[in-house]
């Protein structure tokens, strides 16, 4: 397989590829490489921070109801733990061998959007995303509908016989399965009745409250019967539109923001057969059109892709976890804290005046105290303790990181300095910018790496 295509594949299903890995894979064909991706993601490793303290509170409780003092205590512990989980997730994304599964988990987290102030519930939810990321979509939807965090977030808990709450039923169709305008208000009302009684116990396990369930007939999409929540999911998935909608979202995320209807329909035909996510992903990654020149390096990285991408090239630790969260907030995407159930818009919406300014400056701030070398060719090595000290004073105080340049130097040892851009960037450098870069002195891979990461081109994958 061509190196260009392997790099493209790895940027889309992961966060880039190292030179040695690329070299190794370049001797294999496409089918083997894609199979390898699925093989290394066949297992799933749950992401867990220690929540035993909170779980101990749960098991010590006599009743199912939290008094307000305990609730506040749990919320306080949860806030702390949620920051830990956030950091652990970013670390996972930067280092996991289950690359494809992790990238899909990130995708699903912006599809089945949910948040909660109880760390146990949100951690369970996150691991459900991970577990089903490459599994069966039908099982996935049912599992999501029974997650404690989801029954809280979209009020299924409050959805009772004769007192329906339609929130979950509406979003199930509008955001999770069919897309806007594919159902009537009556369909929402009727399906909401089928999800009555869905709730959870204090530990976060699903509980079906029989007394709250509406066992009478419902009429949904023209069918009448005593439907359960699972029945509703079956009826929805029976519609080809569901496969088309999900494949459209996968296409936008992995291939291009501009939908090609033929390609999406091709995927939907595959997906509709049994709603197996692995099968449709394999089809996509093997399709010739996935590697079309127009797609290569033409996607704007999400803030997380950007941040994790930096970390995979130059391993970087944030000394202060709060700063890692703060940076995510400034970049416009904080993991575990979505704007609302519709999620992040993505694409060009990641970019505005604030985020572009920060994105261009951030690599140098994380890796080099904010300094980007501008030394002209032929000016000798004036660079400069002095300069570094000055920048360290201005920006170094701001974000505290431990940067592992040794690892970078090892990884990129066999890469020639003047071909480093082929490994750091996913697209060609704009002609005018290239002309400027050519006037600059190149004698340090580290400095050139920072120059490359400080370009608009580095925002692309």
């Amino acid at each position: 397989m061509k190196k260009k295509h392997i790099k493209h594949l790895y940027w889309r299903v992961g966060f880039g590829i190292s030179p040695s890995e690329l070299e190794k894979l370049s001797k294999k064909n496409k089918k083997d490489i894609v199979s390898g991706l699925f093989k290394s993601s066949s297992s799933h490793t749950a992401l867990e921070v220690d929540t035993s303290e909170i779980k101990a509170v749960f098991s010590g409780m006599m009743s199912e109801k939290l008094d307000s003092k305990t609730r506040m205590e749990i919320q306080k512990m949860s806030r702390q733990k949620q920051m830990e989980l956030n950091a652990a997730w970013i670390e996972r994304l930067s280092t996991s061998k289950e690359v494809l599964r992790e990238k899909l988990t990130l995708f699903w987290a912006n599809h089945f959007v949910c948040e909660d102030n109880n760390i146990v519930y949100i951690q369970n939810f996150n691991n459900t995303l991970r577990k089903y990321a490459l599994g069966n979509f039908r099982d996935f939807v049912n599992a999501i509908s029974k997650e404690a965090a989801m029954t809280k977030y979209l009020n299924t808990k409050q959805n009772r016989k004769h007192k329906p709450n339609e929130n979950f039923a509406r979003e199930l169709m509008e955001l999770f399965t069919l897309g806007e305008g594919q159902y009537t208000e009556q369909d929402i009302k009727e399906s909401a009745r089928a999800f009555t009684g869905y709730s959870h116990n204090i530990k976060g396990e699903f509980v079906f409250r029989k007394w709250a369930h509406d066992f009478e007939d419902k009429t949904f999409f023209g069918k009448t019967g005593n439907f359960s929540g699972e029945d509703i999911v079956d009826i929805i998935l029976n519609k080809k539109q569901c496969a088309t909608y999900i494949c459209g979202k996968l296409y936008k995320y992995f291939v291009s923001e501009t939908i090609n209807k033929n390609h999406v329909n091709e995927l939907a035909d595959v997906f509709y057969k049994d709603y197996n996510i692995e099968t449709v992903m394999r089809h996509m990654l093997l399709a010739d059109w996935f590697y079309d020149a127009q797609h290569i390096g033409n996607k704007i990285k999400s803030p997380i892709e950007f941040l994790v991408g930096i970390k995979t090239v130059v391993p970087t630790e944030f000394k202060n976890r709060k700063q890692l969260i703060y940076i995510q907030r400034l970049l416009g995407q904080t993991l575990l804290d979505p704007p609302n159930v519709a999620g992040w818009k993505g694409g060009r919406n990641w970019i505005d005046s604030n985020t572009i300014v920060l994105r261009l400056k951030l690599p140098s701030m994380l890796l080099n105290s904010g300094y980007i070398s501008k030394v002209k060719e032929g000016h000798g090595s004036v660079l400069s303790e002095e300069m570094n000290a000055k920048f360290n004073k201005t920006y170094g105080r701001w974000i505290k990181t431990d940067v592992n340049w040794d690892d970078f130097n090892k990884t990129y040892k066999n890469v020639k300095l003047n071909s480093l851009q082929e490994y750091i960037l996913a697209c060609d450098i704009n002609t005018d910018t290239k002309n400027y870069l050519d006037t600059l002195q190149k004698n340090s891979k580290q400095e050139y790496c920072i120059q490359l990461m400080s370009l608009p081109e580095y925002q692309m994958c």
Partner: protein, 396 residues
């Protein structure tokens, strides 16, 4: 359409036909600096308890439901025979006395949601309670009517959804110097200098380059314009005071910005509410009074409208921790010089007619306030921004 607007539009239309272009250019400059209307939003985050802000001190139900959380009729700052202000709102009373304050009671929306995130979301996107939007109402104003990203500025680190449009986002900055510094590394300048616009494509990379260039110029413009003025006012030394000080600096320097967004946090008073709310309302009213003085000194108050809201009010009945739980309808403050309805816009809520949760029933949809501000103050098509037609109120 009112007469003034009609005249303005017809004179604009005629100028397009008859007036030589250099005169037209002059006119545009003139109209952009004179009578340049600005909107300042103040968000009280966490759900401010409206009932202890505007207090019905002659209402038995109020005292019955809040045995240890009510404000006694001897402590309230009386506005009418029935209603008074929280004692920490003395500065606001002075604005009230000058006719600069209009209090709109009972503002909310149908099917109220009692979650902070969601209710704030609804207020910021102006959506119905059962629909979700990925763009905010001021962001959509920017989409349709903003000339630059800096046409709307949030005086904070990051942007609220309210300020994100479908295509354009506002700028967030509480420190124009830091923002400018971040954007002006000589490396970026050199890249910019080398760009030949013809090479900037419509593709994503071209979009990034254009965004970079626009951001650099906005950052420079905001910094260099705002640094020309400084304030003689003594703002309260807290985060909110600083936000207002920066906002006043932006306005008084003549920055080409129509909308400013600020917020004051901490109103989620489930326990021991009295002191917390007293402190926060004190910060709010002292800050706002200084802000109004600052604008008045610089002749910009008459062209500034200040809107204060919170995502919901709180339950009428106090809880067991001498606090209040999440409620529904709440009061909104409009502050400005030329208010049509000074003082109270409408009556207080009826405390004997509550919903099943024991919460107030809303009377005025908050989007009718937005529609009014968009149409009558910012003079744009409110339907285009709110995606729906709302009736309008009569406060400006």
């Amino acid at each position: 359409m009112d007469r003034r607007k009609f005249l303005k539009q017809s004179s604009l239309a005629s100028s397009l036909f008859f007036v030589p272009s250099f005169v037209r250019a002059f006119e545009q400059v003139a109209s952009s600096t004179l009578g340049y209307k600005r909107l300042v939003i103040i968000q009280l985050s966490g759900g401010n308890d409206g009932l202890n802000t505007i207090v019905p001190f002659n209402n038995d139900i109020y005292y019955k439901e809040r045995p240890s959380l009510s404000i006694s009729k001897f402590d309230v700052i009386k506005l009418t025979d029935e209603v008074g202000l929280n004692p920490s709102l003395t500065p606001l009373k002075r604005l009230y006395d000058q006719g600069y304050l209009s209090i709109i009671n009972n503002v909310g929306y149908p099917n109220p949601v009692r979650s902070h995130f969601r209710s704030m979301d609804i207020w910021q996107t102006a959506s119905d309670a059962d629909t979700f939007s990925q763009s905010g109402w001021l962001g959509r104003y920017l989409d349709n009517y903003g000339k630059h990203p800096h046409s709307a500025i949030e005086v904070d680190d990051s942007l609220s959804l309210a300020m994100k449009g479908e295509n354009v986002n506002a700028i967030a900055t509480k420190d124009p110097k830091a923002f400018h510094n971040l954007s002006k590394d000589p490396y970026f300048k050199n890249i910019h200098k080398h760009q030949n616009d013809a090479h900037l494509s419509e593709h994503n990379l071209g979009y990034l380059y254009k965004s970079m260039i626009a951001a650099q110029s906005s950052a420079k413009y905001i910094f260099e314009t705002s640094k020309t003025v400084s304030t003689s006012q003594d703002y309260p030394n807290n985060k909110f005071g600083k936000q207002l000080k920066t906002t006043a600096q932006f306005i008084n320097s003549g920055l080409d910005t129509k909308v400013f967004y600020t917020s004051l946090n901490g109103f989620d008073t489930h326990a021991n509410q009295l002191n917390t709310q007293k402190r926060l309302l004190g910060q709010y009213s002292e800050g706002i009074e200084t802000f109004v003085k600052d604008l008045k000194d610089n002749g910009t108050f008459k062209d500034t409208l200040i809107l204060t809201f919170s995502e919901f009010g709180r339950r009428v009945k106090q809880n067991a921790s001498v606090g209040t739980d999440h409620g529904t309808a709440n009061n909104v403050f409009v502050i400005g010089e030329n208010l049509k309805k000074q003082g109270f816009y409408n009556n207080m809520a009826n405390l004997s007619n509550l919903d099943d949760n024991g919460d107030l029933k809303f009377e005025i949809d908050f989007r009718t306030i937005y529609a009014t501000v968009l149409d009558k103050w910012l003079e744009v098509d409110d339907k285009k921004v709110l995606n729906k037609s709302f009736s309008q109120l009569d406060f400006i």
